[in-house]
């Protein structure tokens, strides 16, 4: 693991492609980790500046979509003099394996600008050990 290593800046990736929004603003793709245990799929997304209330998580037809809006009203009276990154709302969509997730048990947690989604696996999607006779 990268522990103890010097951190590098990761340039924000702008949302592009067919998923264009009707509003002429730039949206960014949150940096995401996805990992799986035998119980659940966990999706971790970095969305600095997004409050819990401005988060929208949606799972429909095995498509997981997450949108986070930032509150830019605090920038109102600020005059930028030097900038190194841009800000904007976040949006990202993932296709999940069909019927893999127990929809009603999904848990979402937001801490320090990081969203953690726990998607427990549906009973039938869990791996079964097959005994060899």
């Amino acid at each position: 693991m990268a522990r103890g290593q010097e951190l590098q800046v990761q340039e924000k990736r702008e949302l592009q492609g067919k998923d264009e929004s009707t509003i002429p603003t730039r949206s960014f793709v949150p940096l995401t980790d996805i990992y799986e245990t035998d119980q659940a799929l966990t999706v971790v997304m970095e969305m600095p500046g997004v409050e819990k209330a401005n988060l929208d998580v949606h799972l429909e037809n095995d498509v997981l979509s997450v949108a986070g809006r930032i509150d830019f009203s605090k920038y109102e009276n600020l005059q930028p003099v030097y900038t190194e990154y841009n800000i904007g709302h976040y949006r990202r969509t993932f296709s999940l394996a069909p019927n893999h997730v127990a929809q009603e048990k999904i848990k979402a947690e937001m801490n320090d600008g990081v969203l953690t989604l726990t998607l427990p696996k549906a009973e039938r999607a869990k791996a079964r050990r097959i005994a060899v006779k």
Binding site: R3, G4, Y75
Partner: protein
């Protein structure tokens, strides 16, 4: 109401353009370690004073250290990313590690007056200008 003028979405687009435009600014070019150091910093002016807004998602308060004097600010700490045991990783984009960045500002600051606030992964530093650094109006007699 005139459409567009008071639309909050327009406000965001304007802000984004302004932020983008300032990226070419050489305001700190000679004084800092330059662009590319972590964490990325946006600096704003608010009247006489300055506000630095820094994105630090996933960094907890206890892992962050701030220091300030005369005209420099330093931000150091570490960010950890964990995956629990027995997890198979599908996608790994977040990075963990330590950071230490010093920013030299082209102004004198009041180190005792700095206020820091860490919320939702954003560190906001309110940096007052030193009294001695504020412009004086010169009376013409």
């Amino acid at each position: 109401m005139i459409a567009g003028l008071t639309d909050p979405f327009d406000a965001l687009l304007r802000l984004q353009r302004e932020l983008e435009g300032r990226r070419a600014s050489e305001w700190l070019a000679d004084t800092t370690s330059g662009m590319g150091a972590y964490p990325p910093v946006n600096l704003f002016q608010q009247g006489h004073d300055f506000v630095a807004i820094i994105e630090l998602p996933g960094v907890v308060k206890g892992d962050l250290e701030l220091q300030a004097k005369e005209n420099t600010l330093s931000i150091s700490g570490k960010k950890s990313v964990g995956y629990g045991e027995k997890a198979s990783v599908h996608r790994r984009e977040r990075v963990a590690g330590s950071f230490d960045r010093t920013i030299a500002l082209p102004i004198q600051i009041d180190p005792n007056g700095i206020k820091a606030e860490l919320r939702d992964g954003i560190l906001a530093l309110y940096i007052p200008r030193a009294e001695s650094d504020k412009p004086r109006t010169i009376k013409i007699s």
